[in-house]
Symmetry: C2
Subunit: 642 residues, 2 copies
C-alpha cells in the first residue's frame, strides 16, 4: 500500500498515511485535533483546512464558496489523500491547547476558598482517609527476620493503630528496594478505614504529600487541578478543550459516535489519554511532581461525560426511557480508565441526577451550598447546554436545557472557548457603531467566547443594529454591517482581518445570533419552568448563582438585555466560575463532601422539560430579544424604550 | 540489520532473528523452550541441539565430545546465528508439553476427596463468599427509570440482603447490553461479605457456575485445576513443566537471573503467561469454558515461586539474613499478574513460612491435616528440593533440604518430569541384570523420572551393580554396564536406543547417582535433624506422608533401600501425590481453609538446617547407600546382608 506524507501547518506536525486516507483521520494520527461538531459528516463546516500542495480527492458541498475552493480550502472530513500533502489548519480554537492558570488567586481562588468555608460552616469535615506516614523500621537480623511486608505491617499497626494492613501489587514490588535504599526509612501514602489500612503508594520524594487530582469534564472544556490531599493546597491547575470535540460538539452526537465500531473506546481515549493525561503531564512536569504520588482522583462531568470517562456505554441515555448505566459509579482505579497517575488511585466520579443532569451539577450544588441554604437560590450552569437548579435546604428542583454548545462558542462561526485569544468583552459605540473589545491574554484576537457573544448581541440590540428577532438592520450605513452572499445572511464585523491573529475577519452573523437566541431561550424558559413547578416567580429568588464555561466576564446587564437572565436586582447575582471543579476539589480533600454529594444527587428532583406541557410555549417566547413578553423585563424599559 | 530464518525440528517452528542472535534466545522467540538448569551459562550441557544446516558461531567447551561436534551437536546457549539455520531439538523433556489428567479419579482423586473430608471433620466449613445469583429485573419505564446499576443493586439488596453493592469497571461496561440482550434477566457472580456485595462478573453462560483456578507452582512442574467454587466439582486439570526452567533449574539460579536486567519480568512472564495461561487455555478450550467465568484463583508455591508469580523481587531471600518480601501476600487481582482469567479474580497465594519453606508446604499441611492430628506425622514433600514437616496438632517443625531438582529428574542425564514417556518403575533381574520398566502413558520411553531413578538405584544396589558409594562394579560382565569415556565415568543402560523415542540410550551414570545420593542424603538428614530437635527417634513417628513431584509410583521398599525414607513399618507410609494442589483446591472452595492456612504458616517453627550444629555430619553420613550407620536400617539386614 502506497504511503503519503502529510505535513500540517502551522504546527509543522507530520504523519505518514496510506493513500486514500481521510484527511481528518490523518490529522488525528498526526496529533492535530480538529473540532468537528458534526463528527465528520461534512455538514458543520468547522474542519476547514487550506491545502497548500498535494493531490487529493474532495467531495464538494455548499459549505465551501467557489472562492474558497479556488483558494484550496477544503473540509478535512470530505478530503482523501492521494499524494504527499502540505495542509494549513484554519480552525480558530485549537482543542488541545493547554492553558495553565493559577486558580488559587483572583476570583477563581476566592470561590475555591469560599467552597471550603461553605462546607466547613455546614458541618462538613475537611479531612480524608488518606495520609502520609513516615516510618523508621528496625533493620532485619537473623533474630528479627520477618519479611519486609510484615515488618512494615508491624510498624503501621503501632503507629496508626490499625489491625489489618494490605497493599497493592505495585507497592509490594517496590518495597524491598525502597526499604534498603534508604536504610529502612520509608514514607508511605496510606488509606485508613477504621481497622484497615491500605498502602496505596510509596512516596517517591522525601517530603512529598499525597496528591489528589480533580477535574471538571465539560463537553467542550476540561479543567483540572492537583491538590495536596492533607493540606488542601492547590499545587497546579490547567485547562484545555475536550479532545472528544473531534467526534462531535454535543453529547448527543458523541453518544451516536460511541455506538459505532470502537467509538466508545475512542471517546474514552480522547478524554482520558488525549485530554486528562496531557493536562496531568503539563501540571506535573512543570513542578517536577512524580505522577505516582497522585493517589486519588475525583471527576465531575455531565452524565454522558462520566460514562465515557469510565468507558461505560451511554447509548440508553438518548433512547426512551432514557436510562443511564449508573447514578453512583462504584470506585474504580485510575489504571482501569487509562489515567496516567498512580494506577491504584481510586477514581471517584460525582454521581449524576438523571440522564441530562450530571455530576458536574451535583458538584456545583455541593460547592455553592444550596443544599444547606435558607435562601432560595437559582443556580445556572452555563457551559455546553445549560443546567439549572432551584431550591434551598428543604428542596431542590433541577432541569437540563438543550442549549447546545453556543455558550462555549460552539456553533458560532467565530466562536471559541474562553481561552487565550478569545474576545470576552464587547462594547459598541452608540454613534459610530465601532466596537471596543477585551481579549483574554491581551493578544491578537482569534475568536469570541460566550461572554463576548452576549455583549455583542446585547450591544447590537441596544444600538439598533439588530431587532428583537436578531435580524440586522442593513439600512444602517456602516462598513461593519454587510451582507455575506456566501452564507446568505447579514453580518456585523467585530474585528477586521488586519487586526486578528488569522488575518480573517471576526464577525457575528444572523445564523450565529439565531443559534445563540435558541440557546439563551432554552435556559431562560428552563428557569421559568422550574419556577412554575415551585409555584414561584422571579421575585421569590433570593440569589442567582451563575457558573460554567460561559466565561468569568459575563455582564449581568447585557445578559438581562438579551433575556438570558431573569430581570431581578443585580446584587442578587453571583458568579462562581467553575463550580463543578470547586465541588470536585472539595471531594478530593473531604470524605464527608463525597458523602454529601451522594445525598445531593439522591435528593434532587429532576424535571423533564420535554414532558412539561408549558415548556414549549415558554421556549418559543424566550427566543426573542429579550422576550415576547416584555413585562418580564421591566428594568429594560428605560434602557431601550420597550 | 540482516535477518536469518531459523527452523526448529521436530516441532517445525520457525522464527526470524537478527544475524548474531544467540540460538537459545532464537528458540525462545520461536516458542521452543529449552530446559537450561544453568540458565544459559554453558555449564550444564542440557541445551544440546543438532544443527542440520546453516552457518553459525559456536563457543566449544568440554561438555561436547569431538564426535558430537562432528555430528553438528551444539549447546544452544553457546551458539550464535550467522545465516538461515535448521536445528533439531535433542532435549528429552519438553518443558511446555501439557499433560491433561483426570485428577478426580484414581489415587489423586482419592486424596482430593480425602482433603475435603479431613477439613470437614476438623470443623472447616466448605463454603465461600462467592456465589452465582440469577436475577429477573423489572424492565425500566418512564416511571421506574432508575439507572441499570441501581436497578441491579435494588434487586441484590432484596435477594441477598446486602446493603452496599459495588462492581468492577468491566462489569459496569457490560451491564447495559447484558441486561437488554436477555430481557433484563441476568446471572451474576458475586462475592458477599456481611453487608457488602461485590459483583465480580456477569456470567457468560446461562447456567455457568463460578469457577476457581488452583495451581501448585513447582520449581519444575506446574499442576493446575479448575473447580466449580459452589459445588466443589473439579471440571478440568492439567500439568506441564514450569517454563522458568529455561532460566535455571533451581530457585537460587533463578533468583540470580531475576536480578539481571528485566530478569524478574521474564520469570514472571514465564510462569504466568508461558505456563499458567497455557494450562488455562488448554483446560478452557477443551471444555468450552469462558475464561471470564473463572473469578477466583489460589496458588501454592515455594517462597521464591510465589514471589516470581506476583512479580515481587526475591533477591533478599538468598542474602543473609534471608528476608522474603512477604509472608502473607495481600490479595491481588488476576489482571495484576498477567493471568488470562477474569482480570478481577482475586489472587490468593498460600502464605510462606520462611525463605525456603513456602505456601506449597503450608498447602500440603493444610490438606493432609497434620495441624489437627493427634498422631505425630512426618510430612515429606519431594519435588525440586525437599521440604519436611514433623508434628501434630500441638506443634510443627519444618525445614528445607537442599536436595536440588534430582527428584524431578533434574541434574540427571536422562532425567525428566513424571510426564508421558517417563520410566517410573524399574526392576532389574537378579540373574541377567536386564531391567523391566514401566513407562507413563505406555509409550516408547523418553527418560526417567524420580520414582524410576529410585527404583533403578535401589535395584542396582541390590543386584551389586553399584556399591554403597554408588560406584559401578565394572568387573560384572554385561552389555549394560560400560565406561563412558566422554563423561569419564561408568554407566548402566536401562533402555537401548532402538527402543527409545529419541533413538538414544537411556542410562544412569555415576554422576547421576552421585547427584541423587546427595539429594536423598539431604532429605534423610533433614528428617533426622527435625527428629533430633523434637527429641524423637524414627520409632516415635506415627505416620509418614509423602507428597510431591517425585511420582505417584514411589516404591517404599526401594526408598528405604537407598536410605531416602526412614526404616519404619511400611504401613505407616502414605502417598498423597500433589498435596500442594490439594491444599490450593481446598482454599478455592472454602474461605475458612484460607484462614486456616494463614494460621498454619504462622504456627510452624522453621529450623534452619545450616545453623544446626549436627546437620552437616548427618548429611555426609546419609550420602551413602543406605547410610554409614546401617543400624538405622535394621529391616534391610535380610535383604542385602548389611
Amino acid at each position: 500500500m502506497e504511503k503519503c506524507t502529510i505535513t500540517f501547518q502551522p504546527a509543522g506536525k507530520t504523519v505518514e498515511v496510506t493513500r486514500g486516507t481521510n484527511l481528518m483521520e490523518a490529522a488525528r494520527k498526526a496529533g492535530v485535533f480538529l473540532d468537528a461538531p458534526c463528527g465528520g459528516k461534512g455538514v458543520c463546516g468547522k474542519c476547514k483546512v487550506k491545502v497548500k500542495s498535494g493531490a487529493h480527492k474532495h467531495e464538494y458541498n455548499s459549505l465551501l464558496s467557489p472562492e474558497e475552493i479556488e483558494q484550496g480550502i477544503r473540509l478535512a472530513c470530505m478530503t482523501w489523500v492521494q499524494d504527499d500533502m502540505t495542509v494549513e489548519i484554519l480552525q480558530i480554537d485549537v482543542i488541545n491547547d493547554i492553558m495553565v492558570e493559577d486558580i488559587t488567586s483572583g476570583s477563581k481562588g476566592k470561590f475555591i476558598k469560599k467552597t471550603v468555608e461553605t462546607l466547613t460552616s455546614s458541618g462538613v469535615k475537611i479531612v480524608t482517609k488518606f495520609e502520609a506516614v513516615s516510618l523508621k523500621l528496625p533493620k532485619p537480623t537473623i533474630d528479627d527476620n520477618i519479611p519486609d511486608f510484615e515488618r512494615v505491617e508491624r510498624e503501621l499497626r503501632q503507629v496508626l493503630g490499625c489491625k489489618n494492613v494490605k497493599c497493592f501489587v505495585e507497592v509490594l514490588k517496590k518495597l524491598p528496594q525502597a526499604l534498603r535504599r534508604n536504610n529502612f526509612e520509608i514514607r508511605l501514602f496510606v488509606s485508613k478505614n477504621s481497622d484497615d489500612c491500605n498502602i496505596v503508594s510509596i512516596a517517591e520524594k522525601e517530603k512529598a504529600g499525597p496528591l489528589g487530582l480533580c477535574a471538571d469534564i465539560g463537553t467542550t472544556t476540561v479543567a483540572a487541578c492537583l491538590a495536596d490531599i492533607q493540606t488542601g493546597e492547590i499545587v497546579a491547575s490547567a485547562n484545555s478543550g475536550n479532545l472528544q470535540m473531534q467526534y462531535g460538539a454535543d453529547v448527543i452526537s458523541r453518544i451516536i459516535y460511541s455506538t459505532k465500531n470502537s467509538g466508545l473506546k475512542k471517546l474514552q481515549q480522547a478524554i482520558a489519554e488525549g485530554t486528562l493525561n496531557q493536562l496531568i503531564n503539563n501540571m506535573t512536569s512543570k513542578l517536577n511532581i512524580d505522577k505516582n504520588d497522585i493517589i486519588f482522583s475525583v471527576f465531575a462531568g455531565n452524565t454522558t461525560m462520566t460514562h465515557f470517562l469510565l468507558g461505560i456505554p451511554a447509548e440508553n441515555i438518548r433512547i426512551e426511557p432514557y436510562i443511564p448505566a449508573f447514578r453512583h459509579a462504584p470506585i474504580f482505579r485510575a489504571g482501569d480508565i487509562l489515567l496516567d497517575i498512580n494506577k491504584n488511585a481510586p477514581v471517584f466520579t460525582l454521581p449524576n441526577v438523571a440522564s441530562y443532569v450530571g455530576g458536574d451539577i451535583v458538584a456545583g450544588v455541593l460547592a455553592s451550598g444550596i443544599w444547606n441554604s435558607d435562601e432560595t437560590i437559582l443556580f445556572m450552569d452555563l457551559g455546553t447546554n445549560g443546567e439549572i437548579v432551584l431550591g434551598n435546604k428543604e428542596w431542590m428542583l433541577t432541569c437540563a436545557c438543550s442549549a447546545g454548545p453556543a455558550f462555549e462558542g460552539g456553533e458560532i462561526s467565530c466562536g471559541m472557548r474562553a481561552a487565550i485569544g478569545a474576545i470576552d468583552e464587547v462594547k459598541i459605540n452608540r454613534y459610530d457603531l465601532r466596537p471596543e473589545i477585551k481579549v483574554i491574554g491581551n493578544v491578537m484576537p482569534k475568536g469570541i467566547c460566550g461572554s463576548g457573544i452576549i455583549d455583542a448581541i446585547a450591544e447590537m440590540f441596544l444600538t439598533g443594529i439588530i431587532d428583537m428577532k436578531g435580524k440586522l438592520n442593513t439600512t444602517i450605513k456602516s462598513d461593519r454591517i454587510r451582507y455575506n452572499a456566501h452564507i446568505g445572511c447579514s453580518e456585523y464585523v467585530i474585528v477586521f482581518g488586519d487586526e486578528t491573529e488569522s488575518g480573517r475577519d471576526i464577525t457575528i452573523n444572523e445564523i450565529d445570533i439565531d443559534n445563540f437566541l435558541r440557546a439563551k431561550g432554552a435556559v431562560y424558559s428552563g428557569a421559568r419552568t422550574l419556577l412554575n413547578n415551585a409555584g414561584m416567580t422571579p421575585e421569590d429568588i433570593d440569589k442567582v448563582i451563575i457558573a460554567g464555561g460561559i466565561g468569568q466576564n459575563l455582564d449581568i446587564e447585557n445578559s438581562i438585555v438579551i433575556g438570558l437572565l431573569p430581570d431581578i436586582p443585580h446584587d442578587k447575582f453571583d458568579f462562581v466560575g467553575n463550580s463543578s471543579l470547586a465541588g470536585a476539589y472539595a471531594c478530593v480533600i473531604s470524605d464527608e463532601a463525597r458523602k454529601k454529594a451522594a445525598e445531593i444527587a439522591d435528593n434532587m428532583t429532576y424535571i423533564e422539560l420535554s414532558a412539561d406541557p408549558l415548556y414549549m410555549e415558554e421556549f418559543i417566547s424566550a427566543c426573542f430579544l429579550p422576550h415576547t413578553d416584555t413585562s418580564l423585563f421591566p428594568s429594560l424599559k428605560d434602557v431601550m424604550n420597550l
